[in-house]
């Protein structure tokens, strides 16, 4: 996209913010791969993408939290470097973070005035209280300046964060997944704020992975996938199914698998399962299904529709509110993670670095993170290091884990190699069921292929596999059966022959198909 074209995008006005060929690399992953983007004054621009698509990295660059490796940033046509939030604010760019950064014991006014250079030295909070009311009125952000932050709901705290930014005269407001903490009513209020900001000529960047919200409030939408811009289009020309398809899109690795045997008898049963999320609401609602031996069951859905809570319930990390979980005759409903593990349920977790491994511990120690308690890795409470090291060396060889030594702290490994360590550990001893959450997310093609091969090998061995993924290609290629989850409910169960990208996209977007 060239400058001339871009300006026609903004109805003749120059874009407020333009970026060209922005690149940001992290070890083992390209978070932003030659990103181009224009944000016009007076528009709400949605950034849509699955977790890890590079949305947060991109706005962190805009707000001066991260410096790009390459590329150019223009604010109102002027090339700039943004090295700190302070510089971002002076350029008129403000960010409302997903996790609020407020001083809980202080009042709203005190929080707003904190670090505000224009505030008077003497009783600054009192001085700006009237202006808080006035701005609140103007943008539909009612909040009592005297209230203490800890007394406020999440929605009200968000208003304080927005006010903080408005006080610094920003012209581009970035909202990082703002609705993830809001009730539907509060979200509606936020959309109204965004519309008013737009009417005042401000630009708004709105990060989300909820299609519904994009359709309701955004003017244009840019879809990111694996760090690249897949498309930028006016919302008027888009529909939910297209967006879902763009978002989960064609996966890079070509998935090809050969399945030899048919699934056997059912052995893992989930009945009428209800699970609460972190905020007490039901995240999983009335879910029932079974898994057969030698079967891969895929769970497709847009992130945040209850997958995480379902996985935690099925691995003993979250106690269900209602329902049953059974493996053969064994009732696992109220058991903890150890009991699930001992029953033969393996788990490749969603958050591999924070849950799947212990960073400072060695590769070898992480390989026995679950088995250390049992022979041959320990006897009478004493670790048997020769056995652990032998197992580690074997695993490194068999799973092609690239590590300097088995004593290297695992945090120094790349994401793909960490995932191989997790797989080696979880598949040791032949689990009955493997629950794999986004197992290839963020991996390069080679590592992703290897993971797929292992999943299929488990199936062929006769294990059940529950594959939860946002990658539709992966789901379609590997699954014997596909469950579609939307707002905590299983809205469809299909065989892969019955499913297509389009149909799955519609179902995931909550459109009956």
């Amino acid at each position: 996209m060239e400058g001339a074209e871009a300006s026609s995008l903004c109805q003749g006005r120059p874009p407020f913010l333009s970026v060209r060929n922005l690149v940001k690399r992290y070890p083992g992953v390209v978070a932003n791969d030659h990103v181009n983007l224009d944000v016009c004054p007076g528009e709400v621009h949605a950034l849509l993408g699955e977790n890890g698509a590079g949305k947060s990295t991109l706005v962190s660059i805009f707000y001066g939290l991260v410096e790009p490796d390459a590329g150019e940033i223009y604010v109102e046509g002027r090339r700039v470097r943004i090295r700190s939030p302070k510089e971002a604010l002076s350029l008129g760019i403000g960010l409302v973070p997903q996790h609020f950064l407020l001083v809980k014991k202080h009042t709203v006014a005190e929080n707003v005035v904190l670090g505000l250079e224009s505030a008077p030295f003497w009783r600054p909070a009192a001085a700006i209280a009237p202006k808080i009311r006035e701005l609140g009125e103007r943008y539909g952000l009612p909040v009592d300046p005297e209230a203490r932050v800890w007394q406020l709901s999440a929605g009200e705290q968000q208003r304080v964060e927005i006010l903080k930014v408005l006080f610094r005269n920003v012209r581009l407001l970035i909202l990082d997944e703002p609705t993830s903490v809001l009730t539907p009513q509060e979200a509606e209020g936020l959309f109204e704020v965004m519309r008013r900001m737009k009417a005042e000529g401000h630009a708004v960047i709105f990060i989300t992975h909820k299609l519904e919200e994009v359709m309701r409030v955004a003017d244009r939408v840019t879809v990111l996938r694996r760090g690249r811009v897949v498309a930028t289009l006016p919302v008027a020309e888009a529909d939910k199914a297209t967006l879902a398809r763009l978002m989960v899109g064609e996966s890079l690795p070509e998935v090809r698998v050969e399945k030899k045997r048919a699934p056997g008898r059912p052995f893992f049963f989930v009945e009428d399962l209800w699970v609460r999320g972190d905020r007490g609401q039901f995240a999983v609602k009335d879910v029932s299904f079974e898994i057969r031996e030698g079967e891969i069951v895929g769970v497709a859905g847009v992130a945040g529709n209850g997958q995480s809570e379902l996985i935690e319930a099925l691995t003993g990390l979250r106690r269900p509110a209602r329902g049953w979980i059974r493996l053969d005759e064994q009732d696992l409903t109220k058991k903890d993670a150890r009991a699930f593990f001992e029953a033969g349920v393996a788990h490749v977790p969603e958050d591999r670095t924070h849950r799947g491994v212990v960073g400072p511990l060695s590769v070898a120690e992480n390989l026995v993170l679950k088995h250390y308690r049992y022979p041959p890795f320990s006897r009478r409470g004493v670790l048997v290091f020769p056995a652990i090291e032998r197992f580690a060396l074997e695993s490194v060889k068999r799973y092609r884990i690239q590590t300097p030594t088995i004593k290297t702290p695992i945090r120094l490994l790349s994401g793909g190699n960490i995932q191989k360590v997790i797989l080696a550990r979880e598949l040791y001893g032949g689990p009955r069921l493997l629950v794999a959450a986004h197992p290839t997310y963020g991996l390069d093609v080679g590592a992703a292929r290897q993971v797929h091969a292992h999943l299929v090998a488990e199936r062929e061995r006769g294990a059940g596999v529950l594959l939860v993924s946002e990658d539709l290609e992966e789901i379609l290629a590997l699954s014997d059966r596909i469950l579609v989850i939307f707002e905590g409910r299983i809205v469809a169960a299909l065989r892969p022959e019955e499913a297509s990208m389009e149909r799955l996209g519609l179902l995931m977007a909550g459109v009956a198909a």
Binding site: L317, V358, L383, F385
Partner: protein, 354 residues
Amino acid sequence: MKLVPRQNVSPLWVFSVYAAAVAGALFLSLVLLALYGVPLGRALAAIYQGALADPRGFAEVLRRTVPLALAGAGLALAFRAQFWNIGAEGQLLIGAVAASGVALFWPLPGGWVLLAMALAAFLAAGLWAVLPALLKATLAVNDVITTLMLNYMAIYLVEWLIHGPWRGKSLFGFAYSEKFPENAWLPLWPGTGLAWPGLLLAVVVAALFAWLLYRTTLGFEARVVGENPEAARYAGVRAAQTLLWIALFSGGAAGLAGFVEVAGHHHRLLAPLQISLGYGYTAIIVAWLGRNNPLAALFTGLLLGFVFAAGDVAKVVLQVPFQLVGAANGLILFALIAAEVLIRYRVQWGWGRA
């Protein structure tokens, strides 16, 4: 100026930084003494003579090392599991009480009494530490506060015992217990004031704890819980159980320090400030400087033992007021803690781009 985290920290670097910090602080302390009127050379000679060259003097260093290393090794274990035990001082006193109780009221033949005293000290102090761990595991009560508060309870318990039920009948006006029978005394290294079995005990306990931490399933669980509680839950580690065991060992080690103090040096239960010169608090620094490695607590314990003993020498030989010694001790601790920054970070000067 900017601080950049170091990726790999070699033990040699750690040692060099600590050595430089101690040398620097020692020099500042000597300047302080010089300002008071003690010539630099004389102060240096006195401390070298009194704390290093003279066997009796060095025995005093070791005598201070024993309780610091014992309690420090226990704290290293606790801190690894993120059990924030600030209560080693109280646990030490409870150990002293339990050991004294056995010595005073349970006549056992020969060496058995010492064994029973050590066991009682370990168990009583261990359970004293299990109490806050239990509150943390079940009710999520802040362990820093509970362990700290239990110190005061231990202090008043000792005060009450020596003024009340355990006060020696043969003593007039003094708040002590009776002297222990002689078979409840630890032997001294000939010609010194060092109860050598205490030193042996400290070495054994530090080695045992290092083995526990790195070679047993309990130690593995403690490290997993301490480094990443979320991964611990995922791995099926029952964190509450781990915490209770670690608390028992951690408190127990401090209790053994209390046992050594009463059985080795005082031979009776006396006022809390006479039993412990704040060893339980200094042990926090011992553990911390040793990077929470129980074995390293032996060496950092020795370092701080030397600081304590050098202070005594200065007081006695150089006739320096104790306030000045306190200031010098403070300087050394301050330098050691400040040096920690240099171990973890590299300093980058100038305003060049990051």
